[in-house]
């Protein structure tokens, strides 16, 4: 008998304009000691399954059809009180973001003890003992001391360990993990996955891991279920799904994952997605507006951008006395050069200072010390606004989050037109309009997009709008700060292809920041590795991946999840 079994689950979210069907007809079985992965892109209905099992669907979600069995017993349609005895006690759940899933006002002890006392018939003293044991089990050092601390006193990875301890503390039979490592750095991700694998082996629980990350799947899962728009398209062993998938969606999804092992020219597109049909139109740079009056065609030097001994400090403890102030050195003595026409990668874990470097180059932050040279001119020495704007026009930035980097109250046409008007690049409004339409067309959105507002677009489309906006000043240097890390793989492939095409067409120089090594390998010519604000290694990207010099780069490459190939 299987531990957990779902038959014909259908989940709907009724709304005024008819129901949205989140999952259509899901069947799954989970055995004890097994790790089942559910993979799919956003909106595929993966999380809905986990929420429906525990009857935690966000209102107005309902499950009109389907049966859920836990050890042969039907658990859907139980009363709230009966359901509460299953939640935590027999089915535990781990959430995505460890920073928000713990109550910030209670100590770890309060949260653990409350959960244990609620489910197990034990005294508070015994519960405390068990809580300390649990923390020890999930690998938190000094558990007896750490248990008195509040969530904010733990790092992200440690908090996720606490979350796991909380889910396991009442000894459940099934664990549902919803994107358990998505919010974590690679090295922390590897530790957490190790821990989960070990716990499953030791305790013999069944685990369902929901993720969009093929690397996680290949790392830890025994079996995989692939979902697409509420349908299960394929179920099989991890080897089979990753190595030799049957369904065309699975095939294209796997091919769209950036490969860490070799560099390929273009990303294969997931043909299953409608958006993928948008073709990129090539232009003749000599006649097109984007190629016109590039008043900087002949570079003065080999390097377009040079950074010398850059330093940035953030004040962490404030005081009126300068001697008592404390600083965090976000960027510490960083120097590198970017050749004209190359894509320069900057890689590192969160907090390594890579975004800070980008912000200093683009002028958002003023460096504490050091110089930034752009085409031979020292940007840190510029004083007049006019001079600054002259260089600002030549460099543009694309941000990570396509949802917050576009002003939701402006029409797309105005968003793209703003930099053109600001830098007075067009003589009349009619010209601005035609340029905007042209740009939108060029990034694959079509001129109809101009009249809409950003919220009418998906994440990938919004990122295209950001790219159009960045191109509107006819820049020659683009800074891309994690441009695809908020996007699904299939969309990521499209956006990266677009950036590559544009880079070649307009001979742009790019600074490409990412924490994702496979993406870096696919996109960049040279790479700099950063750690704790310092530059660890700079190398040609192929050299770095084949033969890393520094220990840290080796360490990062080791952690990179690899897809198993059959």
């Amino acid at each position: 008998m299987s531990l957990l079994k779902i038959e014909g689950m259908r989940v709907e979210f009724p709304s005024r304009r008819g129901s949205i069907v989140a999952t259509k007809d899901v069947n799954l079985e989970l055995a004890a000691g097994e790790i089942l992965g559910i993979v799919g892109e956003s909106g595929a209905g993966k999380s809905t399954i986990a929420n429906a099992i525990l009857d935690l669907l966000d209102p107005p979600g309902i499950m009109p059809k389907g049966k859920i069995f836990l050890e042969g017993e039907r658990i859907d349609g139980l009363s709230l009180d009966e359901m509460r005895k299953i939640r935590g006690r027999r089915i535990g759940m781990i959430f995505q973001d460890p920073l928000t899933s713990l109550n910030p006002l209670q100590t770890i002890e309060e949260q653990l003890v409350e959960t244990i006392v609620t489910h197990l018939d034990v005294s508070v003293a015994r519960a405390l003992e068990r809580a300390i044991e649990m923390l020890d089990k999930v690998g938190i050092p000094d558990p007896a001391i750490r248990i008195k601390h509040y969530p904010h006193q733990f790092s992200g990875g440690m908090r996720q360990r606490v979350v796991i301890a909380l889910s396991l503390c009442a000894d459940p039979d099934v664990i549902l993990a919803d994107e358990p490592t998505t919010a974590l750095d690679v090295s922390i991700q590897a530790q957490i996955l190790d821990l989960m694998r070990k716990l499953v082996k030791e305790t013999g629980v069944g685990m369902i891991i929901i993720t969009h990350d093929m690397g996680v799947i290949s790392d830890i899962c025994d079996r995989v279920m692939v979902m697409y728009r509420g349908d299960v398209v394929e179920v099989g062993t991890t080897q089979k799904i990753l190595g030799n998938p049957d369904h065309p969606y699975t095939k294209s999804l796997i091919s769209a994952v950036p490969r860490p092992d070799k560099r390929i020219d273009r990303f294969p597109l997931v043909e299953y997605i409608e958006e993928a049909g948008v073709a990129h139109k090539s232009i003749d740079v000599k006649t097109h507006w984007l190629g016109k009056s590039r008043d900087f065609d002949n570079s003065k030097s080999e390097f377009l951008v040079s950074v010398k001994n850059l330093e940035m400090r953030f004040r962490t403890v404030n005081s009126i006395f300068p001697s008592k102030r404390k600083y965090l050195r976000a960027v510490d003595d960083v120097s590198f050069d970017i050749r004209a026409g190359e894509v320069f990668g900057l890689v590192g874990e969160s907090g390594s200072g890579k975004s800070t470097v980008a912000r200093m180059i683009s002028g958002i932050y003023t460096p504490h010390a050091g110089n930034i040279f752009f085409d031979g001119a020292d940007l840190t020495a510029l004083s007049s606004r006019k001079a600054v704007n002259h260089y600002r026009r030549q460099m543009q930035m694309i941000f990570q989050d396509p949802f917050s980097s576009l002003n939701g109250r402006m029409r797309v046409a105005d968003i793209v037109a703003e930099p053109i008007k600001f830098h007075k690049l067009a003589s009349s409004n009619a010209e601005v309009k035609s340029i905007v339409n042209d740009l939108l067309d060029h990034v694959g959105l079509g001129a109809i997009a101009a009249k809409k507002f950003p919220h009418e677009f998906s994440g990938g489309q919004r990122q295209r709008i950001s790219i159009a906006r960045a191109l509107a000043t006819r820049p020659r240097f683009l800074i891309c700060d994690e441009p695809t890390s908020a996007l699904d793989v299939s969309i990521q492939a499209q956006v990266l292809n677009l950036l590559k095409d544009l880079q070649e067409e307009l001979s742009l120089t790019m600074l490409f920041i990412s924490h994702d090594l496979p993406v870096i390998r696919q996109v960049c010519d040279r790479v700099a590795v950063m750690r704790d604000g310092k530059l660890v290694e700079v190398a040609d990207s192929e050299d770095l991946f084949k033969n890393p010099q520094s220990d840290y780069a080796k360490h990062l490459l080791d952690l990179m999840p690899r897809l198993v190939s059959a």
């Binding site: 525990l54 935690l56 709230l80 509460r84 005895k85 299953i86 939640r87 935590g88 006690r89 535990g92 759940m93 959430f95 973001d97 928000t100 899933s101 713990l102 109550n103 910030p104 006002l105 209670q106 100590t107 409350e114 959960t115 609620t118 489910h119 509040y150 904010h152 006193q153 979350v163 909380l166 889910s167 009442a170 403890v317």
Partner: protein
């Protein structure tokens, strides 16, 4: 505080000539000059301001032009009345407002919460004096249960006079306190409700549910405590404004508090009272903000770092 002191001091400089308020029509110019000299009005502004601040720190605000009594005494007489009124209405507002806010957040669609929300909308829109007048009309004039003005009998404990210890004191207190509380209460209901709905959507509440914790524990020890963190600031400021802006309620009920004193002072251009009132209210706000900060500190462990 110094800034407020400067403004309070400036009142003396710009609002009317105190001498002409003090003396009659037929006082000669020499006598006026003599008086000015005696009162120190001929000294430089900086010296006068220094003297003003020095006196204010000692609680000395001069004499009221109108009542010919030291301002200190007048304030001491009136302050307990206002404080009792404000504290009782703040207490009422919290006692009724918080449970109502929690209830409407937890049972968003029940008819009772809909009713509460409608009532709170009425409460927040009706001007205070109107509520006061209606209460007087109903309980004071038609039913004749409660007195319509004054504080009733009071008991003196040292310099403090209290209405809490007599029946007639309570009877007089109840209507103004309710009048003053209604606006604050409706504000608190809406604030708690909005903030709590936000907290209930958060990940840690969902995680608490997924761990099978009891609903009552989730609602109160997890959700409500997190709700209170931002709400405390507003509540603190509101209590400050209760004390400061009890003026309208006090005039409607002829409550012998500082608000009434202040209104009368304005009518008569009684500057020492006005400036003392200004300073005192500023001081109350500073104290309340300090208390709020300390409360913050004790509730939110994230602020206790280092």
């Amino acid at each position: 505080m110094l800034t407020v002191a400067l403004i309070a001091f400036a009142l003396f400089q710009f609002v009317g000539d105190p001498i002409s308020n003090l003396v009659g029509q037929d006082t000669s110019t020499e006598e006026r000059e003599q008086l000015k000299q005696d009162l120190g009005l001929n000294d430089s502004i900086v010296v006068q301001f220094g003297r003003f601040v020095g006196n204010a720190v000692q609680g000395e605000f001069g004499r009221s032009y109108r009542l010919r009594k030291p301002v200190k005494e007048l304030i001491a007489e009136r302050f307990p009345a206002t404080l009792e009124l404000s504290l009782l209405s703040a207490f009422l507002a919290l006692l009724i407002g918080i449970p109502m806010g929690v209830y409407t957040a937890l049972n968003r669609n029940s008819w009772l919460s809909q009713g509460f929300m409608t009532l709170s909308l009425i409460g927040i829109s009706l001007p205070t004096f109107l509520i006061g007048i209606f209460l007087i009309l109903f309980f004071g004039v038609m039913l004749q249960w409660l007195p319509t003005f004054g504080r009733g009998d009071t008991v003196s404990i040292g310099w403090w006079t209290t209405g809490f210890l007599t029946v007639s004191g309570w009877k007089s207190l109840i209507m103004p306190a309710i009048t003053l509380a209604i606006f604050q209460m409706t504000l608190i209901v809406r604030l708690i409700r909005a903030e709590m709905l936000e907290v209930l959507r958060s990940d840690y509440i969902k995680f608490a549910r997924a761990r099978g914790l009891k609903e009552r524990s989730i609602s109160f020890s997890h959700a409500l405590k997190n709700t209170l963190v931002p709400v405390i600031t507003i509540i603190g400021l509101q209590i400050g404004s209760l004390i400061a802006f009890a003026i309208i309620t006090e005039s409607v009920f002829q409550w012998p508090g500082m608000g009434l004193l202040f209104i009368q002072a304005i009518e008569e251009v009684d500057i020492p009272i006005m400036s003392a009132y200004l300073l005192l209210i500023a001081f109350v706000f500073v104290v309340i903000n300090l208390v709020v900060d300390i409360l913050y500190y004790s509730i939110d462990p994230r602020l206790r770092m280092d």
